[in-house]
Amino acid sequence: MAGSGPAFEAGASREMNGAEYIVRKLISEGVDTLFGYPGGCVMPLYDALLESPIRHILCRHEQGTAFAANGYARSSGRIGVCLATSGPGATNLMTGLADAYMDSVPMVAITGQVPTALIGTDAFQEIDVLGMSLPITKQSFLVQAIDELPEILDQAFRIALEGRPGPVLVDLPKDIQLATLSEPTIPHLSGERISNTTTPAQWQQAIELMNTSRRPIIYGGGGILLGDAVSPFRQFVETTGIPAVFSLKGLGALPGDHPLNMGMLGMHGSVAANQVVQEADLLIAVGVRFDDRVTGKLSRFAPHAQVIHLDIDPAEIGKLRQAVCALPGDIKQSLKALTIKLNLLDWQSQCLERLEQDGFALPAQDGITGPHFMRLLSQTTRGQAIISCDVGQHQMWVAQHYAFDHPRKHLTSGGLGAMGFGLPAAIGAQLANSEIPVINVAGDGSFMMNAQELATIGRYRLPTKIIILDNQALGMVRQQQSVCYQGRYSEIDLSDNPDFCTLARAFGIPAQSISDPDDMAYAINKLLETPGPALLHVAIATEHNVWPMVKPGDANDQIITGANP
């Protein structure tokens, strides 16, 4: 927790206004960094912040603040807090909140609102932010009276972390920020997690299924990290010896070089990972939600498998795929209960063979390719950097070829797939992890969606590194047009991109550009060794696609490997 000035001693109680109370509450919750952008309806809060020890990071767009808070939360496991004014400030936050909602990221967003008496009069910068945010937050509050403020803030911080985490929004009319709160006491965060709702009999049933299975596969996802279950998960895999495949958000739950790590499955998963799932007789689903990018055509996904499903959120179990054994609750406890020794030598060697034959391969193409570059980046950083991705082909090359040593190091907009995520999320991650190298891997299209945040990196001299894989196209859309629309390319051309190096330098960030594969190693090393921020522009061919691929709507066994595997 940040140090506190005299006016902000936690626990002290004196008369104060709503804005001062909020700042005190943030401090008492251990919030050391706040991402925000000021405006009329949050003026009292900004005034109160002036004397506070909280580090306020001024991003250059509210979407930047929301993604930065999101990246802070993803990379630290702590609540990310962002702040915006009413109307356009609040609407600009929404994409970042939706992303946090889809990927279960704990966040608290505070938005200013017009004074209570003006709500409902179409006042200047009045928008129904509460209504707007309902489908993309875990819970939203409108503070209607100053007396409600302590309880609402307390709930907001509790709900964001409790059970399945998610974003919470608190809409704060300006008059409430100015109203006096007498003798406030700051309620304490309980920090309680939902206890396990699985019974020993259910664990027993799961163990019986595991004992009789000959071809079990673990399908792991983002819930492993969110449930703080990386160690028990690794123990579970080690002891049972069951090979594991992962969703995009599960990557890193096992070290990349672990012999039982079959890598990513699904639309751009490996043939090997998809194949072993299609052959499995038992699927142990850990913190996953059977997303369509994973399952392909659902009715043909893992057709021979019975499913054991572990998840904190009972609503996910049976939502898309029936589980013969449902284990709702704390996955850490369930994993521990299921950690038994099995004998699977035959199946393990079959899986390993598959992986050697049909794992992710490096393409035989000229010039720099995404896969070659990512593999080299992975080797150079030993999988230990925090990689904050954007959305598109480059995101898939990271997922396929960067061997993360921990899922917390992989920041990626999974459920929402929001271009523009990478750069601001990297800012948040860097502020939460000053000791770890943070690299934004961007596409040329995605980068331009929040390029203004170069100013934030420049202003705070963050040592964040930026790599733009520039194929002069909205590559992922181009690929789908190539595969599913007979190459009828529509609005994917970005050949008039700006000179990204000049752009970076305009913000005081050194930059260099490469296009020759022989320069890759030197450029990566130079990038990482540069003190402070730096940008590396990597020119790649427009035509290179991500392989393999399951076409949208196809079954995973209809996976295609492309002309150039």
Partner: protein
């Protein structure tokens, strides 16, 4: 399939909207709805009849998660005119206590 739900929810701003939104988004259409607000307890008492070809659990589990839901009872009917038969009574534990 048509079925009914009895819901008791805290009368927060937008509570009703959130219930309606969840119902719509999860693929259930509303046949009828009756809402009474009980000021002394700051509660809404809602009787909701919905129709969908999706399983009832899909809606019940999602509604169950909403902050402010205090009690949820699902009733089941096979057809429009058939009497409602009590199927399962679940008292939802308080995730977000009042």
């Amino acid at each position: 399939m048509i079925f009914s739900l009895h819901i008791q929810a805290r009368s927060n701003p937008a509570m009703l909207e959130k219930i309606l939104q969840t119902t719509r988004v999860r693929g259930f259409s509303i046949r009828s709805m009756d809402v009474k607000s009980c000021d002394t307890e700051r509660l809404l008492k809602i009787h909701l009849t919905v129709e969908s070809d999706r399983p009832q659990e899909r809606l019940v589990t999602q509604l169950n998660k909403l902050g402010g839901i205090r009690e949820l009872t699902a009733l089941h009917a096979v057809a429009d005119s058939a009497p409602l038969v009590e199927r399962n009574l679940q008292k939802v534990s308080l995730m977000y206590p009042v």
